[in-house]
Amino acid sequence: MSPGRDALDERVLRRLLDRAAEGIEPVGAGELSRAAHAASAREDREHVLQLAGRGAPARRSSRPARWAAALAATLVLALLGGIGLGRQLTPVAESVEAPVLPTLAPGFAPAGAWTVVDEGIDVPPGTRAVLAANVPLDGPGEQLELVPGRVLAELPEPGIVIAVVGRVATEEEQGEDAPLRLADGARDTLWAGPAGGERPLAEYALRGRHGGLELDVRVYFGTAEPAREELAVAQAQLDRLVVVAAASQVTIAARPASVRWGETIALSGAVAGGRAGERVTIEIRECGSDHWRAHGVTTTTSGGQWFSETTVPINAALRARTESAVSGGVGVVTSPSLTLFTNGRRPYASAGAAQSFWRREVVLQRYDAPRRRWVAVGRSRIHDSGGGGHFVWGQAYFSARLTPGSLYRAVMTDRQTGPCYLAGFSNMARP
């Protein structure tokens, strides 16, 4: 942006746009899949095909059906966090639209130093997954990605994470168990960590068959060059892989798992058996409570899949219950609704949530553009307060004088909002 020019340089503009696009929350793979499914489920397509003079695909031959199945497998791998965890899975089945939740699941025999999680993992339809790590995984009730980016980003050098996804083997695939050997795996390098600070991790991709499940396995090491001892440790854990009756015959996933108060969450899951029309009750356990209570009801569609939308008023765990089964819990965290107003005589922030923040502190910040950081310019406590039921609002007035043209926001730190809410950030306002 040199002063002598009369137009923005193209390269600068590209960088600025990239920066402007930062922070846009990506659409989750599940949501994209549902959007595509909803779009392609419309029945007016054949008409369009005829208009286009290409002829409608009145009946699919077995070959396109196989193609569709192969592409469904492609989709499965794409859904696996964009990591290609199912990279070489062969077709799932002829029915590609509603894979049924397996009643069996991969698991690991107990071993001292390993943490194993098989609940609350966000997996594609028709699959079961288990994660094992010799480092702490996220706490129980917190939803994990199949490839837990946060864990990998901080994986120490001796750390190992094993992700296993399994689906029911097709008839053609049925056969003897195929052992999982690291030495047979395809090795790759995964770059993990915060943008700009990524570091290389060794990744091994393996396929195997065990107990009627087709398994796709990824093993991640906290270094690009794992030592022989580390490889042996990982292999020993792979040898403990077992196939067991799934702990829960109903699953649940939440997207996004972090929301602002009042925002909608998409819930989805499946019920083993694949029946349509089965009643699923969503239960919630809110922060500060020991009890699960009914939060809503939905029913399964084809393949036993279910979808629902909801809001949670406060940090909470959600689970799904059918007549005979209950899922593990999945955590959803919430930040208060915080809005900064700068048009009046005095700037003020309004906080809304399901609990009162009476006397809690709100910080007014101004953006220091040259130093590219936020600077506190005022503090105030919430006094005005009102509401009731599931919504309580409060307002904090600031005495700071605002500079016209500067950018401001209000912040409540997690010390002020916790333990039942995340930190709150307001809109940015320019008086």
Binding site: R19, P26, A36, A39, L71, A78, G84, Q88, E97, A195
Partner: protein, 195 residues
Amino acid sequence: MEPFEARVRQEEQMTAPDAAGAALPVRSAPELGLAEVVRRAQLGSHAAFESLVDAYGNRLHRFLVLRVGRDRDARDVLQETLVAAWRSLPTLEDPERFWPWLAGIAANKAADAHRRHRPTVQLDPELPSANGVAADAFEVREALVALPAKLRDVVLLRFLLRFSEEETAAALGIRVGTVKSRASRARRALLEALR
């Protein structure tokens, strides 16, 4: 033929990075050409269409958020775009040009949404701070929102999605010369706004 996923990966690296703190790279997958996947979607493969959406959906979403200003509106327009894309996919003659074609539909749908809810183009006040976006990014968004929609389309297609002038022209149904003049006007307006 260039594998579909490899091309997407290459394009993804060229365009805006994901904002997630623990960003993980896009990984390669099967040896399918883009044209083949598009052809199968044209023939009615839902799974092929889903894989296309999976590959391009987030870039389209980023484009739409900057185009319409609000994440929620962008998601609505994204859904409308996908419906329109599925319906008219058989009319796409060159499968290799799927991505500019899809972005063109999105630009049209965004314009439709703008007409329905005029004047709706305003920044999502919740979006930037909730994700810890720096304020200079916010300023760029403000400057973009202030641009006339026609200029904004050209800027976003050319410089966010990295389309060529020809691709941008084809996507928007305008002449290459018009793309050049609009891009030039937009760059001048943005420089003025960001000074």
